[in-house]
């Protein structure tokens, strides 16, 4: 158990700056998820915390200790890798006990700790097997068990679920969350999957091109994205995003899309835009719904359009339709049948639209 602090940490690969002076404070027992597209620097950040990559600039502090110059083994962190990296020549039991054996612990104590970890993860039956005789999910569990037995200050997970099939991934995701509740420890978890991030994290750090775009709880990120990137990255389906230009029309600002549609700027945003400003405005699928099947919001904008495609998913139906020339997606939670080619009246809830400045990418 420890808090982890990153102060202006940078990582260079040759001339490429993979991580750019990031500041981050991870509190004790927190489940923090680093998420972002590949190449955003999230794995490098994790590996610097683990001690597997050198810290080129800045400081990393675990507990009270600056760990820049410490070897991985001196940092008391455990890492779970994407490809598990179980020791293939050892049985599950030996895999679990290896770190304790290296630390010079007595055989009985090792057995006790291994049994305890095996109990937590429900892998008692496999203790005598070799990793090659285990399924993907079992291997994943052993990898986690190997991390647990050391009782580290910090758990580091590097995309631990990407090698599993969809069903198993959901199951293991739940187990990781449960594990965190049982074994109260600081966890830093790297993934590129925003659903994993949303479901697991106490707080999410969204990274892009080596910098932190936003830090916040899953709901904060969902409700108040700080940048256009965060808005499109978080949430599924992705937020609809339309480029447009601000114009003044009879004392009120409106947005004119590239296809010439005129949409009023929401009342709350009237003061923050200016004439001629290039912006993108975004809205989530559930905030544009067919009028026929939903209630008209107080501040709405009507739009008549043909259905290109519909995906009934049971609890919800996704409708793909055009907004000018751009295809957008609408989501309704009523089980009504919608067919491709149907013409529907959509209502866009203006109060739930997000405006982003195109120059800075920041939310307005």
């Amino acid at each position: 158990m420890a808090k982890v602090t990153l102060e202006k940490v940078s990582k260079f690969y040759g001339n490429v700056e993979a991580v750019k002076k990031i500041d981050l404070e991870i509190t004790d027992n927190e489940f923090l998820v680093l998420v972002g597209p590949s190449g955003c620097g999230k794995s490098s950040t994790l590996r610097m915390i683990a001690g597997l990559e050198e810290i080129d600039e800045g400081k990393i502090i675990i507990g009270e200790k600056t760990v820049n110059e410490l070897e991985p083994r001196e940092r008391n962190v455990s890492m779970v890798f994407q490809n598990y990296a179980l020791y293939p020549h050892m049985t599950v039991e030996e895999n679990l006990g290896f770190s304790l054996k290296i630390a010079g612990m007595q055989k009985n104590d090792i057995d006790k700790r291994v049994a305890e970890a095996a109990g937590i993860l429900d892998i008692d039956e496999f203790l005598q097997r070799k990793p090659a005789q285990l399924s993907g999910g079992q291997r994943q569990r052993v990898a986690m068990g190997r991390a647990i037995v050391r009782r580290p200050d910090v758990f580091l997970f590097d995309e631990p679920l990407s090698n599993l099939d969809a069903k198993l991934r959901n199951q293991m995701r739940t187990e990781i969350k449960r594990l965190h509740q049982k074994v109260k420890t600081t966890i830093v978890y790297v993934t590129h999957d925003q659903v994993e991030a949303m479901t697991l994290a106490d707080r999410i750090v969204i990274m892009k091109d080596g910098i932190i775009e936003q830090i916040g709880t899953p709901l904060e990120l969902f409700e108040t994205p700080a940048t256009k990137f965060v808005a499109t990255f978080i949430g599924s389906p992705s937020m609809n995003m339309i480029s447009s230009t601000i114009k003044k029309d009879q004392e009120k600002y409106i947005m004119i899309t590239e296809d010439g549609l005129n949409i009023p700027v929401p009342k709350s945003k009237q003061d923050v835009v200016k004439e001629g400003q290039k912006i993108s405005f975004g809205f989530r699928a559930e905030d544009i719904v067919p009028l026929k099947f939903g209630n008209k919001p107080s501040q709405s904008w009507g739009h008549k359009s043909k259905v290109n495609l519909s995906e009934p998913l049971g609890t919800e139906t996704l409708i793909f339709t055009n907004f000018g020339k751009i295809e957008i997606v609408s989501r309704m939670f009523t089980p009504e049948l919608v067919r491709a080619g149907d013409e529907l009246d959509f209502a866009l809830n203006l109060e739930r639209t997000y405006l982003f400045d195109d120059e800075t990418g920041k939310a307005l």
Partner: protein
């Protein structure tokens, strides 16, 4: 008969022909070792041996008393001792250095790595024999002609590049995450190597060791220059002892040849499994 069957038969026939072609000289050496000089020199050749004897081996190992032509006593046991010492020690050193080198090439990035690797491999392209004269002069200057040490040095130099190449390929097959996990698990770099990466690459190291041993065990050309006496002559060079000015003791020479082949054969069979996986799995680089 279908086309496939005909094909099969043709393949079998050519395989058998090829095996006969490869095996016959070896077989002839073995047969010759067990029969009298008369049969050996007979014209036309006697293909099926008429009477076999172990005389040659007796003479060779225990200095038998049969006193026919050219049968001077050859100090086989001294040669065996030299061969064993030189082969085992040079193999051990070559594998030790080569494995560490292979690990370094596989795991570390340093400036000019590819050039170094190329240079190391280039040494394999130079025929050893072309170096034997310079080596002879050099060694005689520093006084290690006709010593185990001198020959061991040459064999180590001969075997290290190949060992590096083979083990490098092997270490590359092991995911880097393996040693990284070990290091977060509390290992030093060396412990991670020793507990994890070394056991995982033992097939590769075993095959490298066998090759190094066989090359040392079978080498003739260079040792024949460097070894002058029973102090350092190996078994292969010892074969020359059976030639005298006008005659060659064929049965004796062949008996010794059989004696040389046997350990190599046993070793190869013992580790055949490792050898195959070592060469196909580790040697092929991704």
């Amino acid at each position: 008969m279908t086309k496939k069957q005909i094909n099969n038969i043709l393949i079998w026939i050519s395989a058998i022909l090829l095996i006969v072609l490869i095996m016959t000289p070896g077989l002839w050496v073995v047969i010759t070792a067990f029969r009298p000089q008369v049969d050996i020199m007979a014209k036309p050749a006697v293909w099926i041996p008429r009477n076999l004897s172990f005389n040659q081996f007796e003479t060779m190992l225990f200095g038998g008393s049969e006193g026919s032509m050219g049968r001077s006593k050859v100090p086989v046991l001294s040669y065996l001792r030299n061969s064993l010492i030189i082969s085992l020690v040079s193999t051990f050193i070559a594998v030790l250095i080569g494995t560490l080198g292979g690990y370094a090439f596989a795991r570390h990035n340093f400036k000019g790595k590819n050039t170094y690797f190329f240079l190391v491999m280039l040494t394999r392209a130079i025929p050893g024999i072309s170096l034997s004269l310079p080596i002879f002069i050099l060694f005689s200057k520093i006084g290690i002609i006709d010593t185990h040490l001198g020959i061991i040095i040459v064999f180590v130099a001969l075997n290290v590049p190949f060992t590096i190449w083979l083990t490098d390929g092997f270490f590359r097959q092991i995911p880097r995450a393996m040693s990284e996990v070990a290091m977060t698990d509390g290992c030093t770099r060396l412990q991670a190597f020793w507990h994890i990466e070394l056991p995982l690459s033992k097939s590769g190291i075993a095959s490298a060791g066998i090759f190094a041993f066989l090359i040392s065990w079978n080498e003739f050309a260079i040792v024949s220059n460097l070894a002058r006496s029973t102090d350092s002559k190996t078994l292969t060079v010892g074969l020359m002892d059976f030639t005298s000015q006008f005659t060659i003791n064929w049965p004796g020479m062949c008996a010794l040849a059989v004696f040389i082949i046997i350990p190599a054969l046993i070793l190869t069979f013992m580790v055949q499994k490792h050898l195959v996986s070592g060469l196909t799995f580790g040697g092929v680089k991704g």
